[in-house]
């Protein structure tokens, strides 16, 4: 057999999951994912799966289910939906189940080291590329496809072209990974990465905190990608090893328990080959970036923050799988310390997980939020997709740290959503108008 040309991350990850030595771009192969994710949509997926007439799912040990999209249940229908999921989890012996309040699927599966570098996770959630922060291959799929995986353990994937995005140097103070993601989507369009695997590289990426790295592959869902990747480094291995260690201490039996957590974390990790082929390469100078805002009603309608500063907002929301982590809470607390949310504006803050909430409590951030007049919600997706409270009235404007600003996204058709980094959301809540936090003390 001819030795393969240098391979991209996507080629290596798909080859691994397909049990093949290597795959070509454009090839369609059947993969066996390491983890299959679903959430509040699990009851609907079960209805489809029942059509197969199976008594048992074939991959209970690979299935992860979180209740996060509408928690705690806001209506009887939602409560029935959750109850059905709990029955299914019990009956099928599903390995990973996370209850109402534990947090958002992508955050929780990261915190619990359910997914590891180099593994392939398919989820009935469009933000599944999230797991690229640790060098895993995550892709969103539909409900019928998850039902198919429960029944067969495998699904077809096309090996995508790859795109390289390089960030050189350090982001200036007040400019975040969210701003970088918005800039990319604004420059190249909501379909700029359609069907591709985006690999991030460069000194600017290497120097990002782990929580900031989580923002980039997550936001690439708004760029049309199949998956996105950041090479795992020592910090990633340390983060996941500690969490695996904790699971071992809690008495969980892991596969290959003779291996140390470090070895378990690194045994599947994958790196693209030097000389791998990219369909496009984009280079950004971190120092030249600034805070950006995505304006209604499209994530690629991106302008520098200064262009929309002064826009009146009735609601401000900090949370979601994109920007609801501890450093986002810290950024909000720094802005809100000894300040008050403006009259006529409400600020809703929802940590992305119970661990984030606990840490934010310990560090006094939650105290700061309440003193500033913010509302703190139960860890989960919150009002991101209009399922659970925090719904704007017609005519109202929301500024949000979430990932989508589509018309009707938060539950009301005639409402506007602006997307930004969390510090901008907090500053806008204090001023009542879209505001650059770096200029707040001069106001």
């Amino acid at each position: 057999m001819k030795p393969p040309s240098p391979q991209t991350f996507a080629q290596k990850a798909i080859a691994r999951a397909a049990g093949l030595k290597f795959v070509e771009v454009g090839q369609v192969v059947d993969v066996r994912p390491d983890v299959v994710l679903s959430h509040d949509n699990t009851a609907a997926i079960r209805q489809t799966w029942l059509e197969f007439g199976q008594a048992r799912v074939v991959i209970p040990e690979k299935m992860a289910i979180t209740l996060d999209h509408a928690v705690p249940a806001p209506t009887t229908k939602h409560a029935q939906n959750h109850a059905e999921i709990r029955r299914f989890v019990q009956e099928q012996g599903i390995r990973y189940f996370f209850e109402v309040g534990r947090g958002i699927c992508h955050q929780v599966l990261s915190e619990e080291a359910v997914v590891l570098p180099g593994q392939l996770i398919l989820g009935a959630d469009s933000h599944t590329p999230h797991f690229g922060w640790m060098g895993a291959f995550g892709a969103g799929i539909g409900r019928s496809e998850v039902a198919t995986l429960w029944a067969t353990g495998e699904l077809w994937l096309r090996v995508p072209e790859s795109m390289l995005i390089v960030l050189d140097g350090d982001l200036p103070p007040g400019v975040t990974a969210k701003d970088f993601a918005l800039r990319i989507i604004g420059d190249l369009g909501a379909d700029g990465g359609l069907y591709t695997s985006v690999e991030f590289a460069g000194t600017g990426i290497e120097r990002l905190s782990l929580e900031s790295r989580m923002v980039l592959p997550n936001m690439m869902a708004e760029f049309g990608v199949k998956t996105a990747y950041i090479a795992p480094d020592v910090a990633v291995i340390e983060y996941l090893s500690q969490r695996l260690q904790k699971r071992l201490e809690n008495g969980e039996r892991l596969q290959n328990t003779d291996r140390s957590p470090d070895l378990l974390v690194t045994q599947s990790q994958l790196f693209p080959d030097a000389g791998a082929e990219y369909s496009a390469t984009y280079r950004y100078d971190a120092a030249a970036l600034e805070p950006y805002v995505a304006c209604p009603h499209s994530v690629d309608n991106v302008v520098p923050l200064s262009h929309v500063a002064g826009t009146r907002v009735q609601q401000a929301f900090i949370g979601t799988c994109t920007n609801g982590r501890l450093e986002d809470m810290a950024a909000a607390a720094a802005v809100l310390k000894d300040k008050q949310v403006a009259t006529g504006t409400r600020l809703l803050i929802i940590p992305s997980s119970s661990q984030v909430l606990q840490e934010a409590l310990r560090l006094g951030y939650i105290q700061t939020f309440i003193e500033a007049g913010a509302v703190v919600g139960v860890p989960g997706c919150g009002p991101c997709m209009g399922n659970h409270m925090g719904i704007p009235a017609p005519g109202e404007v929301t500024i949000s740290s979430a990932n989508r600003n589509f018309q009707g996204r938060m539950g009301t058709r005639d409402a506007e959503i602006y997307l930004s980094n969390p510090a901008v959301v907090a500053a806008s809540a204090v001023a009542g108008v879209i505001t650059d936090p770096r200029e707040m003390n001069n106001v």
């Binding site: 939906n81 969103g140 539909g142 409900r143 067969t152 077809w156 379909d191 359609l194 589509f406």
Partner: protein, 166 residues
């Protein structure tokens, strides 16, 4: 099914799944009629009441971007939509469409000339779209995609596969 014939409903670029099927219904709407009634609710409130079996949606780039919700495809199927003809599709919508037997046809040249309301005919055997401005060919489906569509969707396809394996 080798031919689809219906009126064109024309929309723009980056039509997302929130306007095709609003997120607020995703965990509660069940049953074909209820799901069908919300189709394109926040994009074109006249659509669900007026669409007829065989009608086609003609749209620009990246149709179906956003959420993975499968109702974005099934709400069209339940309304009898014959095909979506687009300049390009978001990848999850494309999979959901194929998996539910909804034809997702990529044909940028046809999209540019088809006007709202005109009668469009899709000839599946010859991979050709016929409309007022002329005839336009589109690429045939790849092998795995064709097998799923021919089975009537992913669930039927997998059912047959499971029977064969047993």
């Amino acid at each position: 099914m080798s031919e689809i014939r219906g009126r064109a409903w024309k929309y723009g670029d980056n039509v997302n799944t929130d306007v095709i099927f609003p997120g607020k219904y995703t965990y509660t709407a069940s049953g074909q009629e209820e799901i069908a009634s919300h189709a394109l609710e926040d994009l074109d409130p006249s659509f669900a009441a007026n669409v007829r079996t065989g009608d086609v949606i003609v749209t620009g780039r990246n149709w179906g971007c956003g959420s993975s919700r499968e109702q974005a495809a099934t709400c069209l199927v339940f309304n009898g939509v014959g095909a979506v003809i687009a300049e390009s599709f978001s990848r999850i919508f494309y999979r959901n469409a194929i998996n539910n037997g909804l034809l997702a046809i990529t044909c940028p040249t046809a999209v540019q000339v088809i006007e709202a309301g005109e009668i469009v005919m899709v000839d599946l055997q010859n991979h050709t779209i016929h409309c007022a401005a002329g005839h336009f060919s589109f690429p045939p489906m790849s092998g795995s995609v064709r097998q799923i569509v021919e089975a009537g969707g992913l669930i039927e396809y997998v059912k047959r596969k499971l029977v064969v394996e047993a």
